[in-house]
Symmetry: C2
Subunit: 218 residues, 2 copies
């Protein structure tokens, strides 16, 4: 490898060649899984194919992921982690939901700037029922982390249950918003990012304003 080979996406724990190789292998597997799943459908791809595509032994696959689904979802899961990490970095002047909103926008921008196709993962997942559980599990894992971050942000001595409730509701809101956006994509190509931004604004606004509604009088 020459000097400035390729990019340095993801969290390349730059310490030592070993670590670098590991993250590279992990990325290779993830991308291979995604590529094949996109081409043939998740169900019709075998681990053997993925291993071959990533140029590793079948047995090695399990050193990185415990199932095919986990590998395919890994990309999206990484974005979730980035989102939560981004939330932590928001200035304390922003309220909780404001910070969540801004963090979401930052992740969106990063995803667009990145070469990897972040949309592909979501599109595949939406189309394949078997991936939903894994995606939700990845989301739930971040929910715990996010709850801690929220607890740190609002400080102690507050409403005991607020952090987890807020984390769960916020992630649910983001999930629904993203889902509706992808749905509206459906036929056409990428439907304006601005539409997504607007939806985000409205959704989180609704969370802030309160979710109750009267029933239809009739």
């Amino acid at each position: 490898m020459a000097v400035g080979t390729q990019v340095a996406v993801e969290s390349d724990a730059g310490t030592g060649r070993r670590e670098r190789k590991k993250t590279a292998t992990r990325a290779a597997i993830r991308d291979a899984a995604m590529r094949l799943a996109l081409r043939d459908g998740v169900e019709r791809v075998t681990l053997e194919q993925i291993a071959a595509e990533a140029d590793i032994a079948l047995r090695t696959f399990f050193n990185y992921f415990s199932s095919k689904e986990e590998a395919v979802v890994a990309g999206a899961a990484g974005d979730f982690r980035a989102f939560v990490a981004g939330f932590r970095d928001r200035p304390g002047s922003e309220s909780v939901l404001r910070a969540l909103h801004e963090a979401a926008l930052v992740v969106l921008d990063q995803a667009m700037a990145d070469d990897r196709d972040h949309l592909a993962a979501l599109v595949v997942i939406r189309g394949e029922r078997s991936l939903v559980p894994q995606l939700l599990a990845a989301l739930a894992a971040q929910e715990t982390v996010l709850a801690e971050a929220i607890a740190d942000r609002v400080g102690p001595g507050q409403d005991e249950g607020y952090p987890r409730l807020c984390a769960a509701a916020a992630l649910a809101a983001l999930r629904v918003t993203l889902d509706r956006w992808l749905e509206s994509a459906g036929a056409g190509a990428v439907p304006s990012l601005d539409g997504l931004r607007g939806e985000l604004e409205r959704t989180l606004g609704a969370l802030a304003a309160g979710l109750d509604r009267p029933s239809r009088p009739e």
Copy 2:
């Protein structure tokens, strides 16, 4: 069978012996899976054991569930469905969140009155990481149904995204509340149902009042 043999929990589609046998078999498998999972741990139970316990052929298992996890989670999934169905039955005089709250209380009461151990499922699931995805998937499935029910309740022409957002946030809130309650159970026995009721009240109240909070000034 004599006159009043046993109970009639679940949704015994009472039409014909065939349907009755099917639901009975399904329940037998579900209960067998739960019993064995509770005794030995989900991972250490094989489908063969479950099939033997439920007195069916291994192959037959797959006529009812597509995986061991699905069978174990089936009980909880049924409660979710009951909850959403109960929501539909709430009078139109109640606001959306009010109706959700009442429906939750009704399901709780039913679960307590029932002979089947509804808590067991949740306890097992909490303890076994591999079940989380399946549970979340079951919840997500009901999220769609709930969103439709909410849409019907508030009537058309409203905020386009409200039903799904509300459904997702409400189910997330219920999940978190239940989880916190089970967590607090931990050591001791069943920690007062009234505690759970109170938590529910506060959680849904928070959803109604709005979730934003200022960050810690410091």
